[in-house]
């Protein structure tokens, strides 16, 4: 039997310099191609869960294996294999990087220290830009793009590294309806290629009509975990957040 790509067993996590756990005794396993939506009230630990999966937050207890690697001892290696679109970024108009450079940076971890990007790396960046439909913006300064275009650039940045898992934190927050649909299409394609999508979101319109796995978090714990239709996500979440 194939092992799950994400395997969390009873993990507790805390930020550096803080002993109080944010996530408590959490169990979660995610298989290839799954489309997971994480919901829950504010301060439920949703972002912390994503950052525990890629090793950016310290796991104090429990076992965490991602892409077959122990997250506690191989955090940087895990992050090379896991795409992570962070929440609430803003690039000012004076940011001196083009879209192509930013997308390319997604690949830098895999290239390694003291090595220069090859033509194959550049081609991967161009492909990623093509996938999210921003190839025409390659030479533009990232800070001069709209919020939605910046969001797409960050998704391309993560696709460029050839992720085995895709984590997204509120990926639709800056996007209009059309852009959301485009992006959902891209994520669906990734899921169909076997890359699990794990997404924290409060925007549920336009979720793909495949089996969605809804994970509800309350106070650092998973309180509900079910497979459901895209149209039922919001309704279930309303009930479970109140109960939780």
């Amino acid at each position: 039997m194939e092992l799950s790509l994400i395997e969390l067993e009873g993990i507790y996590t805390a930020y550096e310099g803080d002993d109080k756990p944010i996530i408590k005794d959490l169990h979660l396993s995610v298989d290839r191609g799954e489309y997971v939506v994480i919901g829950g009230p504010n301060s439920a630990g949703k972002t912390t869960l994503l950052e525990s999966i890629n090793g950016m937050v310290r796991i104090t207890h429990g076992n965490a294996r991602v892409c077959g690697l122990d997250v506690r001892s191989c955090g940087a290696e895990v992050r090379k294999k896991v795409g992570y679109v962070i929440q609430n970024f803003y690039f000012d108009p004076f940011t001196p990087f083009t879209v192509e450079q930013v997308v390319m940076m997604g690949h830098y971890g895999r290239i390694g220290l003291l090595r220069r990007p090859s033509e194959a790396d550049r081609a991967a960046a161009r492909r990623a830009m093509g996938l999210v439909g921003i190839e025409g913006l390659a030479g533009k300064a990232i800070g001069t793009l709209s919020g939605g275009q910046q969001q797409k650039a960050m998704i391309a940045h993560n696709i460029a590294k050839g992720p085995e898992i895709m984590l997204l934190d509120e990926p639709f927050s800056n996007l209009d309806f059309r852009a959301r649909e485009d992006l959902q299409g891209v994520l669906l394609d990734l899921a169909r290629c076997g890359i699990p999508i794990v997404m924290v979101s409060h925007a549920f319109d336009g979720l793909p009509d495949i089996g969605i796995r809804l994970v509800v978090m309350n106070s650092g714990r998973i309180t509900y975990d079910t497979k459901c239709k895209a149209g039922d996500v919001e309704c279930i979440l309303r009930q479970e957040c109140v109960v939780g």
Partner: protein
């Protein structure tokens, strides 16, 4: 090094010192200003100042003491902000205040004891009374700075873009960040006698800010900022000797004036304003 071009030894040393200090500080300035860590410059310069004061008090080389103290501060900036769960700027503020207190305490105490310490060269710079070894050390640290940026350009540019996003990509951001702090400490400590503890901040911030008004990509910023610092420093040295003016403060004023003019004529600012 420049003796074949400049006959007068004092002027030659002043030009060489200014050239190397400008290269190192302005290149590092591009990185720290983009990372919103300008307070690193001010903290390091005051740490070097405190170290120099300790050296004078102990009767040992003020430059070596400045290097040791600022490298020590560099070594604790990163871990303290990680462990204390504080923003790097808050950590820098605490270290800055501590360094300043140490320096003022020792200088006041030595004056009180009649040791006759003059701190003006440490505060405002002195390009006239330099030893050849000091210039060689500064040349070495400038070369190290250039090599560091060339070798780790990929990592540095990603950190300058966004440290969290760089870390999420699986890059060794902390290693590069700590090396950066170490090189800043070395550069600042070695430039202290030349640019002065209070003025060095101008070299760390202003050339990068001027380059930022015109450059759309980071590569050109790494070229324009040192060129601006070099040309204004060379002009300042010439004007200082020609009209008998204090050189480091004069260059600092020229750089600040140049920044004002660059803001007025910044086409990048105009293009950005049009787009928003």
């Amino acid at each position: 090094m420049l003796e074949p071009l400049i006959q007068n030894n004092v002027v030659c040393h002043a030009v060489e010192a200014m050239v190397f200090a400008s290269i190192a500080c302005s290149i590092l300035g591009v990185i720290i200003s983009r990372m919103n860590l300008s307070s690193i410059g001010i903290t390091m310069s005051h740490a070097a100042f405190a170290g120099a004061a300790i050296g004078m008090y102990q009767g040992v080389s003020s430059q070596i003491a400045a290097i040791l103290f600022s490298v020590g501060v560099a070594a604790i900036i990163g871990p303290v902000s990680d462990k204390a769960k504080m923003a790097a700027d808050a950590t820098l503020g605490v270290l800055f205040a501590m360094s300043m207190a140490v320096a003022i305490f020792l200088i006041s105490y030595m004056e009180y004891m009649g040791k006759g310490l003059s701190a003006s060269s440490l505060l405002f710079g002195d390009v006239v009374s330099l030893y050849r070894e000091e210039i060689y050390a500064l040349a070495a640290v400038s070369a190290v700075t250039v090599l560091f940026v060339m070798a780790f350009y990929k990592e540095i540019s990603a950190i300058m873009f966004n440290m969290k996003i760089a870390e999420a990509s699986g890059m060794q951001v902390r290693v590069v960040y700590y090396i950066l702090l170490f090189i800043i400490a070395l550069s600042v400590a070695l430039s202290l006698n030349i640019l002065g503890g209070l003025l060095i901040f101008v070299w760390l911030v202003t050339p990068a800010a001027i380059a930022g008004q015109f450059c759309f990509n980071v590569k050109s910023m790494f070229i324009v900022a040192p060129l601006v610092a070099l040309s204004t420093s060379a002009f300042g040295v010439w004007a200082g000797f020609e009209y008998t003016l204090p050189i480091a403060p004069l260059v600092a004023l020229i750089l600040t004036g140049t920044f004002g003019i660059s803001v007025l004529f910044s086409f990048k600012r105009r293009i950005s304003a049009k787009m928003h």
